[in-house]
């Protein structure tokens, strides 16, 4: 069993590090982990769940605001949702999503329709990719715990 735990822990460590290296996560995610303890062992997972729900809602708002069939596009409305998404992605350490929101915001301010539509598509892809990655990471955590081990602290530096 110990060998299994050690292997799972290694996998978890490597996977987590890769997420940072590939730019999916940043420093702020590490900060969130600091807020998790035995009393709130699922804090990070819960916050990220809320974040992903936020993504769905905000992206849907953006899509609606960018829908030309309903009339002229209100870029400030799109921008407002982008601003919110930028904020929450920043708060959870979703680095790529946040970076996309920065570009997206610029396109909104420039009232660049094609740019906005492109960003919308990319943001949708990106949050889903992150969601999948994190689900895999949380699954690894679960496996470690089920095998009787502890989830290791991963030093990103």
């Amino acid at each position: 069993m110990d060998a299994l735990i050690a292997q799972l822990q290694r996998q978890f460590r490597d996977y987590t590090i890769s997420l940072y290296q590939q730019g999916f996560l940043d420093d702020q995610f590490t900060e969130l982990k600091k807020l998790q303890d035995d009393g709130s062992p699922d804090f990070v997972a819960e916050v990220l769940t809320l974040f992903f729900e936020d993504c769905v809602k905000l992206i849907s708002n953006m899509a609606r605001a960018l829908d030309k069939t309903t009339g002229t596009v209100d870029f400030s409305q799109v921008g407002a949702s982008v601003h919110q998404l930028k904020g929450s992605s920043s708060s959870v350490g979703a680095k790529r999503v946040k970076a996309l929101c920065v570009s997206f915001k610029e396109y909104c301010e420039a009232k660049n329709y094609e740019g906005c539509v492109r960003c919308l598509q990319q943001v949708d892809i990106e949050y889903k990719a992150l969601k999948t990655k994190l689900q895999d990471m949380f699954n690894l955590e679960k496996q470690i715990i089920q095998a009787g081990g502890r989830v290791p602290q991963v030093d990103i530096n």
């Binding site: 702020q28 709130s40 699922d42 819960e46 916050v47 809320l50 974040f51 936020d54 920043s90 708060s91």
Partner: protein
């Protein structure tokens, strides 16, 4: 309205799931710091609430400036009697909020008789000097760049407690006001009593240059921290 006035805008299931705490809280322990957190973003509210709870603060989180005023009894409705005993030690608010901005909320709090002495901290994702200056001039205690980190909150807590800790190098971590150049070393500490939390009294506290910098992690971008920039301007505060 639920027992606590319905002001905590986290859904109960979320709060319990995250272990944030009961909706109907026990009576306030008078020694415990009570923070009113205001942010329209649910994700941010949850994070700030957790950050504060981990530093042993009691937290009430609301989603708008209006709700904050309602909680404080500063709205136009007749305040309920319970508010006589309302103890709020710190208000921390987001700047960009629909309806009432954090700045507008700050002004209303500073205009009130009951809460103008309560320190108000502004949070923002944008490092805009004019914004920061405006808030500090209106009486904000501090300005935090989002995303907020544990080190930021711990620092806030430090200047709230009656016995202010002095760091090992003898400098007190005082945050907001620009130091008079050059800052002499701290000789004695004075405690941050809530009655003294006006900007004027803060000007008399002296800090070392270094203690004004935010911890490296709390700087979201390569730009200088907002407080460090503050030093470069002449004090615009009375």
């Amino acid at each position: 309205m639920s027992k606590d006035g319905g002001v905590s805008c986290l859904r109960r299931s979320e709060m319990i799931g995250i272990g944030i705490g009961e909706l109907e809280s026990p009576p306030l322990d008078s020694d415990q710091v009570h923070v009113l957190a205001v942010d329209d973003s649910l994700v941010d509210r949850i994070v700030i609430e957790r950050l504060l709870r981990i530093t042993s603060c009691k937290v009430t989180a609301v989603d708008s400036g209006w709700r904050a005023l309602e909680f404080l009894g500063l709205d136009d409705k007749k305040a309920a009697v319970e508010f006589d005993r309302l103890k709020v030690d710190l208000i921390i608010t987001d700047y960009c909020m629909p309806g009432m901005t954090g700045y507008e909320l700050l002004k209303k709090i500073k205009e009130s008789t009951s809460f103008k002495e309560v320190p108000v901290v502004i949070m923002s994702s944008e490092n805009v000097i004019t914004r920061i200056d405006r808030c500090l001039e209106e009486g904000a205690e501090d300005f935090l760049l989002k995303p907020v980190k544990l080190a930021d909150v711990k620092r806030l807590k430090n200047y709230l407690t009656k016995d202010v800790k002095v760091a090992a190098d003898g400098n007190k971590r005082k945050l907001t006001t620009p130091p008079p150049p050059p800052p002499p070393p701290l000789s004695s500490t004075s405690s941050m009593e809530s009655s003294d939390s006006t900007v004027e009294s803060l000007l008399s506290m002296v800090v070392d240059d270094d203690s004004l910098t935010l911890s490296p992690e709390s700087i979201a971008s390569p730009v200088d921290s907002p407080l460090r920039r503050r030093e470069m301007k002449s004090p615009g505060l009375d």
